[in-house]
Symmetry: C2
Subunit: 327 residues, 2 copies
């Protein structure tokens, strides 16, 4: 299997993408990676390592789309960027999937534009992978569609369930519609209509509330991109804020070094399910291909795990399952 | 000053409302409370205590609106409930404010219907008080208005700022618009228009994101009621989920009893800013009166603090400030 890797995406390129790709190749014998980026940046990084030249390929892509570029403009004006070239290779069938830790907006726009939509899908979605007390689950949409129609929410539920079951290994994933109350007559007209459509999905958990996310009272939380984006970023901020608050409490309680170290160890372990490196990245679902995006701060480990998630999408043919489910 | 207290609101009535009201009267000599509810329920609870009959009054109100009642229906059919009678007394000027730990929807409906709206206010709002790493701040709206117009969001910002400054004692409270990105062209058309209106507020912090809430990067977070309600409930679930995760980590690390106790103590202290009892309740802002609602599980301490918050609203004349600001 071949996966294209954006070597100039994220805050720590080219080091982390290159190291992550090489680690993935070492672990999986059936994998070939194609690293994309400006030759003068990526090649010297690659040359720092020993690697199998038959399974680590390089494709020159001189343009760089950075975090501050306007998504739609960048995709049009930077046709020779790693993102546009990499997705183009995927479209032509040279690679089976594409991953990047770069500009999410540009990646979504390019993935939709270059790969096109899957049959039956109204709007591709950023299907984020969200930490709960019981492990990672789905929060869909996480910012691709700020305004939605009921059928979009229905499709988010269908796609999120397939991803949760196949890639996150959650059997019979329960789909919940984020709302202000459990009763089915709660919420806006859009939510009420979406609720009726979602009823046809197996394992539909009905309406769920904000308090149901962390205890994992559903496995796929469906919402519009405005709610999803705010919730996702709020969730990401918990670990840091908490560490700040616990640090202050340690000081106030005047713990000695040994005690403070023990408390810090317990907290670190307790918060380990929130470690985004483990899932690596989140997929754009509904596009006609396999495209994943990672956090800007992705480590080499996160990049490696994102490559593995892309491989799993190919192996399980997630897209064929989505097309069948939406028929 | 006279505050009416719903003696049959919340999960622990009449005990907690009665105890909270009596504690408040003990602490504040200028306070008289009027307890409302069915005589056969409230009087026996009152008689368990020694109290000053000239400053603790009772008003019989035989109907009870419970948590499962439909708000608009209950307000119409239960005219002799503590909620409708208490707000009616407030409307007529017999008391200066009303507090309850009862059905939020019914309280909002009754407050709006009985008290009416303040001049210049389009929609009354549930202005929730939200814990951050630096103390309690405002999240407005928390569920009263699931769909909004830009001017509603502007008014939420104005009202929230006045409450934060006067009742939460946050000087020069910064108002932020919850959005998917910081740039002012981000978000839906409604958010873009609201951003332009909010610019006229002093200390406008611009757009803020989900990750800005817990670190307290603004003091008033403005959003529609759907986002606010989901965010509020998500936030409320953090402490419990975390305790669950930390409990699991303590077991896994095989701490002895003494060590476990120390860790639990630090966590408890770290999470103490999240203790809702301290703020007692949240106000309905934009109604022509002082009306606050508390958590269903409100303790006597929470009830007492809610009474004090209502008194402060009267003393600072929050409503006059709102009318002036919106002129």
């Amino acid at each position: 299997m071949r996966i294209a890797v954006d070597a100039v995406g994220g805050d720590f390129y080219p080091q982390n993408p290159v190291e992550g790709a090489l680690a993935a190749v070492k672990e999986r014998e059936d994998l070939t990676v194609v690293l994309l980026g400006p030759e003068e940046l990526v090649k010297p990084e690659l040359e720092k390592h020993d690697y199998d030249t038959s399974r680590v390929l390089f494709q020159h892509a001189p343009d760089i789309i950075d975090m501050h570029d306007s998504p739609s403009k960048a995709v049009k004006t930077k046709q020779n960027s790693s993102i546009v070239v990499g997705l183009g290779m995927h479209k032509k069938g040279f690679v089976d999937g594409f991953i990047s830790a770069g500009n999410t907006g540009a990646l979504l726009a390019a993935s939709t534009f270059v790969l096109g939509k899957l049959e039956g899908v109204s709007r591709p979605t950023i299907a984020s992978v969200f930490p709960t007390a019981k492990g990672f689950r789905m929060l869909v949409d996480a910012g691709a569609n700020l305004e939605v129609r009921p059928e979009f929410l229905y499709q988010f539920g269908v796609m999120g369930k397939i991803y949760a079951e196949n890639i996150l290994n959650v059997p019979n994933a329960r789909v919940g519609l984020l709302n202000v109350g459990e009763e089915e007559e709660k919420g806006t007209d859009i939510l009420k209509e979406a609720h009726q459509l979602l009823k046809s999905i197996p394992d539909f958990a009905g309406n769920v509330e904000g308090r149901d996310i962390l205890p994992c009272n559903a496995d796929v939380f469906v919402c519009d991109g405005l709610i999803g984006n705010i919730t996702l970023k709020f969730g990401e901020s918990i670990a840091t804020s908490l560490q700040y608050m616990i640090g202050a409490a340690i000081k106030k309680n005047q713990l000695n070094d040994e005690q403070a170290k023990m408390v810090a160890g317990v907290i670190k372990q307790a918060l380990s399910p929130f470690d985004y490196q483990l899932v690596g990245g989140v997929p754009f679902l509904g596009v006609n291909g396999v495209s994943l995006v990672g956090h800007g701060s992705s480590s080499a480990l996160a990049i490696k795990n994102m490559i593995f998630a892309a491989m799993k999408c190919v192996e399980k043919d997630v897209n064929a399952q989505i097309v069948t489910a939406l028929q």
